[in-house]
Each structure stands twice: as structure tokens, then as C-alpha cells.
């Protein structure tokens, strides 16, 4: 067989299988839709995670350490501690919020003014807001700084604001695994869906396959149109998934930006990149091809002319 005829034949089979796929639009769209949904779900979750990560990604740098002084410590002592802290290499800045300032702020912000007036003294301690240097802003560096401050005299409590970020990170990591797991399961589902669709197609065309084998077709030859059907399903399913995710993104982008604005942020949704789209299509094609290959190889081998 010469090369030109070989490619010609493949091209014809490819177009022929497209013709058959288009010939049953309802069944085809159903299959593509199921593949699309199965792929859109993990893709959507992954994108959501990516957005949360991006949105929270630069918070680590701007983290401060809140240092609450002992209530009995004098304001002179607070100033001394602040001075000592400023001398440290890992501290970029220290801001003092005196007990009086804190009370005033609380009075303005909380609306409990009257209730506060009823208190005999100021229940709030002096507070130092310590900003670590960028280099010290690692989890380990922050822990070290926290330990060092906690060991200083007259310091009541040191609160590291990284704790909740760490929990968020851990949660995101967990979610990421869930997404990967879900993706794996749904990917296997795509293989099975396409496999089953192709199996039914083969059963429908059993007589035709028998005839082809009788006139000398190899299993590979008889299998080829089904592999191409699988490729079309994969392509259609992948495109469906991308369209679904784009629609979800369009629906969510306004509310997300609104929400971000409430937090004083100019955050915009991270969408699907061109490369990601290509990867999704390649993955969809690959899974569908695998499904059709498994089904076609197995079921065509079982068809023998009688």
C-alpha cells in the first residue's frame, strides 16, 4: 500500500465516521453532552480553586504579627519593647496602638459607645503591630519571630495572623486532591461512556463487520472507523466542556468582581488560558480514543463470520 493511498484512506474513513456521527444527531449530542459535563465539572472546580489561590496568594507577604502587652505594663515599657523589636533584622516596622487609641477606635467602629462609658477603666491593652521583613515572611520565619516576641517580658499574647491562612492553604490542598480524584473518576467515566457507545455501534453494525472480515478485512481495518467515531466524540465532548466552563465564568465574573470590591480588591476571575483549552481538548480526545479503542478491539475480535 503506498503512502498517499494510505492517508487518502484514513482521511476518507475520518470523514465517513463524521458522516455517521452527524447522521444520528440526537444520540451523538447526548454522548458529547455527557462527556462535556463529566469533563466540565473537574475543570470548573480546578478553575475555582485556582482563583481562590490567586486571590489569597499575596496575603502571606503582608502579614502582620499582633502583640498584646500585659495590661499592667506601662506605656514606657510598651515603647521599649517596640524599640527592641525595631532593632531586629526580621522586623520591617512596628506600629504602636495605645490602649486609649484602641478604645477610641473600638468606640467608633462598634457603636457600643454608651456601654463603654459604663466601664470603669479601659479593658484594652497596648498593642504592637509588627510587620516582618519580606525575607522573614516565610512560615518558619514567622514562627521564629513569634517565639522570640512571646519570650519578651510583659508580652501577654502574640497572635500570628498566618494561622487562618495556613488553614486555608491546607483546605485548598485538600480540595485540590479532591478535584484530582474527581477528575480521575470522571475521566474514567468518559472512557466507559465512549466505550459503551462504541460497543453499541459495533453491535448495530455487526453484519457489516462480518462482511468486511469475509472479504479480507483485518481487525485493525474494521476497527478504524470506530476509533475515528471515538475521536469525534472526544472532540465534541471537549468543546462542550470548554463552552460550559466559559458560560459558568461569564455568569460568575460580575458577582465575583462585586464581592471583591466589597473587600476593597480589584480582583478579576482567572479564566481558561489558550494552552489549558488545548490540554482539555487533547485530554478529551485521548480519553475518548482510549474508550473506543478498548471497546472496538475487544468486540471486533469477537465477531467472526459464520
Amino acid at each position: 500500500m503506498n503512502i498517499q493511498a494510505y492517508f487518502m484512506r484514513h482521511a476518507q474513513t475520518l470523514v465517513g465516521s463524521l458522516g455517521r456521527v452527524v447522521h444520528q444527531p440526537f444520540a451523538t449530542l447526548m454522548t458529547m453532552g455527557v462527556i462535556g459535563l463529566a469533563l466540565a465539572l473537574p475543570l470548573f472546580l480546578d478553575l475555582a480553586l485556582q482563583n481562590v489561590r490567586t486571590a489569597t496568594g499575596n496575603w502571606n507577604d503582608a502579614l502582620d504579627v499582633s502583640v498584646y502587652m500585659d495590661k499592667r505594663a506601662s506605656s514606657a515599657r510598651t515603647a521599649t519593647v517596640a524599640k527592641l523589636l525595631r532593632q531586629r533584622d526580621d522586623v520591617a516596622a512596628v506600629r504602636i496602638i495605645t490602649a486609649d487609641q484602641a478604645l477610641a477606635q473600638f468606640r467608633d467602629a462598634s457603636g457600643f459607645g454608651k456601654a463603654l462609658d459604663a466601664l470603669e477603666g479601659n479593658p484594652l491593652p497596648d498593642t504592637l503591630i509588627v510587620t516582618p521583613t519580606l525575607i522573614a515572611g516565610t512560615p518558619q520565619g514567622m514562627e521564629a519571630l513569634k517565639g522570640a516576641i512571646a519570650a519578651m517580658a510583659d508580652v501577654q499574647t502574640v497572635q500570628l495572623d498566618t494561622d487562618w491562612v495556613k488553614r486555608l492553604r491546607a483546605m485548598l490542598d485538600l480540595l485540590r486532591r479532591v478535584v484530582v480524584l474527581t477528575g480521575g473518576l470522571l475521566g474514567a467515566g468518559v472512557v466507559l461512556i465512549v466505550g459503551n457507545t462504541i460497543r453499541l455501534e459495533i453491535l448495530n453494525r455487526r453484519a457489516e463487520i462480518e462482511v468486511m472480515k469475509l472479504v479480507g478485512a483485518s481487525d485493525g481495518f474494521a476497527r478504524r472507523p470506530f476509533l475515528y467515531s471515538g475521536i469525534w466524540y472526544g472532540l465534541g465532548g471537549g468543546l462542550t466542556a470548554l463552552i460550559l466552563v466559559f458560560i459558568a465564568g461569564a455568569v460568575l465574573s460580575k458577582p465575583v468582581e462585586g464581592l471583591a470590591r466589597l473587600y476593597g480588591s480589584q480582583y478579576h476571575l482567572v479564566g481558561l488560558g489558550f494552552l489549558t483549552c488545548l490540554r482539555v481538548l487533547a485530554l478529551s480526545l485521548g480519553l475518548a480514543w482510549l474508550g473506543s479503542w478498548l471497546a472496538a478491539t475487544r468486540h471486533i475480535r469477537g465477531i467472526d463470520p459464520t
Binding site: 457489516e208 462482511v211 468486511m212 469475509l214 472479504v215 479480507g216 478485512a217 483485518s218 481495518f221 467472526d304
Partner: protein, 218 residues
């Protein structure tokens, strides 16, 4: 061309179709395989086309012991012979030309060569001009001729036919047999299984008569 050597065939159902069949068919011969139904005619043809394998004994086709042909090699083997079926076994969703072209497509011929050969084969069976028709738009006799055109389009040296006239009236049957005779005259070895004794009496070809899974006369 074909040699059966003490061939036994017992099917999974327990039916013994062939019980020690031996015969030889020379290259270029035309042979009628005949006998009552159930005598083993179809089994002989299936063994030749490697649709079945002998339980015992050996089948030689083209001086090749078929027991040595691995399943992977069967497609290649089948491309070397033309088979005609009683029920035509055509693909009804494709035009006549595509049906006839199938063996050439499988063998990987060039499109131009395929078109040329398909037209030649259809011409030989008198169906030129029906290329674009669907098989079901044709009469039974014409459908059978499409089946014959498909069997000869790749120019096999061996043509086998299982009851090719089973569904045809006597006049059409004679025409079909004449067609086989014509292929035989240009050098093709032809084996036709048929129970229609009256029909083959009009043709002076050799007969192998089967009865109860054995060769009754040759």
C-alpha cells in the same frame, strides 16, 4: 489448487458435518460441489475460506496447509480468494460501487485503480450503470451479480460460491452459472456448491458429490 486430506469436521453442537473427506481440485478447474442439504457442502467451503477449521485431517489451499495459517494471517489469506454467498452479504447502506470496491479498499488500492476495476467487474456481470444504486433497489438476481462482482474484483485465482442460485428462478440461475463458467474460462479456479442437479447437468463440469459427510462420487 485445493486438496482435502481425510478431513473431519465436528461442530460444537456435536454434529459431524464431514467424516473423512478427501479430494483434489486442480488449478483452473471448475467443480460443482453437490449433494443433499446437510451433506457438508457448506462445511467444505467454510474450511476453504478459513471460516471454520477442520477437527481432523488437513486442508491445502494454493499448496499451503491451512492449519499453518495463524488467525492474524487469515485476512491476508482471504484477500486471495473470492467468495459468493447465497444471501449476497451486501452492505445495504452503501451504493453498489462501494460494495464491489470493498475488497480493493481493504487491500489499499489507489482510488483511480479502484474505480477502474469496479467498473470492469460490474461490466463483466452486466451491471454497468447501476453503480450508484443501493443493493435493495436491485432485483435478487442483480444483487447476486453484485456479490459476484465483489468476489472477482480483486482478480482472485480461486472463486468459491455457496448456493449462489438458491434464491433465483431457473432462468436467472443459468445466467449466473454461465457467469461462473466465463470466469473459469479465463483461468479462475471455480468451486460452486449447489444442490440443484438439473442446473448443473447443463454444464459439463466435474462434480464432487457429498453424502453424509463423505465423498459419494467424484
Amino acid at each position: 489448487m485445493i486438496r482435502f486430506d481425510q478431513v473431519h469436521k465436528r461442530y460444537a453442537t456435536g454434529r459431524e458435518a464431514l467424516a473423512g473427506v478427501s479430494f483434489t481440485i486442480d488449478t483452473g478447474e471448475m467443480v460443482f460441489l453437490t449433494g443433499p442439504s446437510g451433506a457438508g457442502k457448506s462445511s467444505v467451503l467454510k474450511l476453504i475460506a478459513l471460516i471454520e477449521r477442520p477437527t481432523r485431517g488437513q486442508v491445502f489451499v494454493n499448496n499451503q496447509n491451512t492449519s499453518g495459517i495463524k488467525p492474524r494471517r487469515i485476512p491476508q489469506f482471504r484477500r486471495g480468494l473470492g467468495v459468493v454467498f447465497q444471501d449476497h452479504k451486501l452492505l445495504h447502506d452503501r451504493p453498489v460501487a462501494d460494495n464491489v470496491a470493498l475488497p480493493l479498499i481493504i487491500a489499499g488500492f489507489h482510488k483511480r485503480e479502484i474505480d477502474k476495476r469496479v467498473r470492469a467487474a460490474l461490466d463483466q456481470v452486466g451491471l454497468l450503470g447501476k453503480e450508484r444504486n443501493r443493493p435493495l433497489e436491485l432485483s435478487t438476481g442483480e444483487q447476486q451479480r453484485v456479490g459476484i462482482a465483489r468476489a472477482v474484483v480483486a482478480k482472485p485465482a480461486l472463486l468459491i460460491a455457496d448456493e449462489p442460485t438458491g434464491n433465483l428462478d431457473p432462468q436467472l440461475s443459468v445466467e449466473i452459472m454461465k457467469l461462473f463458467k466465463r470466469f473459469n474460462e479465463v483461468g479462475v479456479t471455480v468451486v460452486v456448491a449447489t444442490h440443484d442437479v438439473h442446473l448443473i447437468e447443463q454444464f459439463g463440469a466435474r462434480r464432487i458429490v457429498l453424502g453424509d459427510g463423505r465423498v459419494a462420487s467424484s
